[in-house]
Symmetry: C2
Subunit: 285 residues, 2 copies
């Protein structure tokens, strides 16, 4: 029996984790909360992040009946997992350890690269999680990738382009930005004597860039998506969900603390289906 | 006699306005406050922005002795100028009206384009200010430009490049992003029957992109920088500052409510000289 799964993010990027979970549990009940009024978490102190994340977790568990909680936010996973686990009585899973564990399973050389936001890199949470898995990790902040995803410059369906087989100029920009970042990162890895064979996508926005990133990495390099890795851990925990006759489709309720319009507009691309009506919730200051 | 000039922004982009002011008043005393703990203002309600901006203005006036206040923040200028004027007893100038007035002086067709952040465009403050000047304005949000500036992908001195005469790939990306945005904007202007001859840079980060933007606009189009236009208004108000014998150089104190490290690291590029030690100040929640 799959429990009601609560998914929390500071914004709506965590919808890529929800998408990966829905693919594995197509008949479960999900509640998602984006604390959009108080983002970005990345520039705030650990104490403030812990307070916000604990409030958000309590909303999902105490008011929405979540029986299992996924923290689909790298910053909160890095800085507030303990605080969230103390704040609620249900099991809590972050995105960083599953990403590191999947990297260990994928890597033969033991050297991995991690791309993420500035805040996640500064926390060095992926380095620490990789070290705990016996891996050496080199992290790089790629601050342009989130705004490129939010602009929709990720594929041939961006606005203002004719579509078709040729890459529109917007997608070419994103591909070039990825090429520059990866060239800098692999050059730095070589300078440090690393021999990386695995790249971890350490930001919940990056799954939307996966096709472009896979084209840009050196031949033979594996790409690990923390969102997929996290959903795999949940799937292993609860086993495959068997569809009974007349099983209902996954039920999904999305909440946000602000910016419902942007959430609904961009969220469906992250979730790969409509978010439905996003409900506004006030968690206080 | 030039007064002590207080300059306020939600972040450090307003340092481009301070730079323009220092160029005109090389012997004045300046105090700058970046409310970095509470940015971005753009996603917050008008009431919250008004409260934050009023607190910040009172700090500059009551605690730092500012006798004239420049709101070097488009969002606060658009949404909180009245609230700031009520909160302090000194004259207050925003960046939007000077930008619109400079556009009127520059434009012969009466049609102008405005590029800005998403929040500034959504406020339609430039449209309103241009309309008050008898201009028709078409605004466009360019969300990638601020992160490109903050990454330093604006010129040949970015890290990881050999420099020299050829444009590094990072600068080529920024030039291409500008080309795409301006192509979309001029196509939209043509579709609406406008004949624009002036482009207003409605974001305090954009002066760092001015050389690239000037290369990208259609021949004959004037580029108006709100930061320069605002400093011009202040200069006209107080007249040219005459250097007396042994006049001291401009005195400058910078305050921030958080993220002093990023402020010091990036701020000197915006200010075109070192910010000096940025002092942390707590304005409360």
């Amino acid at each position: 029996m799959t429990p009601t799964i609560g998914v929390f993010d500071s914004g709506f990027g965590g919808l890529t984790v929800l998408r990966a979970l829905v693919a594995r549990f197509p008949h479960a009940r999900f509640v998602f909360l984006g604390d959009t009024a108080r983002l970005p978490y990345g520039s705030k102190s650990r104490r403030t992040i812990a307070r916000y994340a604990a409030q958000s977790a309590q909303f999902l568990v105490n008011q929405q009946g979540a029986e299992f909680l996924v923290i689909a936010c790298n910053t909160a996973s890095a800085l507030a997992l303990d605080a969230i686990q103390e704040a609620v009585t249900v099991p809590v899973l972050g995105v960083i350890e599953p990403g590191a564990a999947a990297a260990r399973a994928a890597s033969r050389t033991g050297d991995v690269l991690v791309i993420a936001t500035d805040a996640t890199v500064q926390s060095h949470a992926y380095s620490a999680a990789c070290r705990a898995q016996g891996l050496r990790a080199l992290e790089k902040a790629c601050p342009l990738l989130v705004p490129l995803v939010e602009e929709g410059w990720t594929g041939p369906s961006v606005s203002g382009t004719a579509g078709g087989a040729s890459a529109p100029p917007q997608m070419a920009v994103t591909a070039e930005v990825i090429r520059i970042y990866l060239a800098e990162l692999t050059a730095e890895a070589a300078a440090e004597g690393l021999n990386p064979d695995t790249l971890v996508l350490g930001c919940t926005h990056y799954p939307l860039l996966r096709p472009l990133i896979e084209r840009a990495v050196p031949a033979g390099m594996r790409v690990i998506d923390s969102a997929e890795a996290t959903a795999d851990v949940v799937a292993r925990r609860f086993g495959p969900q068997e569809a009974e006759k007349h099983s209902p489709a996954a039920q999904l309720r999305c909440f946000a603390t602000d910016s419902v319009e942007k959430f609904e507009r961009l969220g469906s691309r992250f979730l790969n289906r409509p978010t439905g009506k996003v409900e506004l919730v006030d968690l206080g200051g």
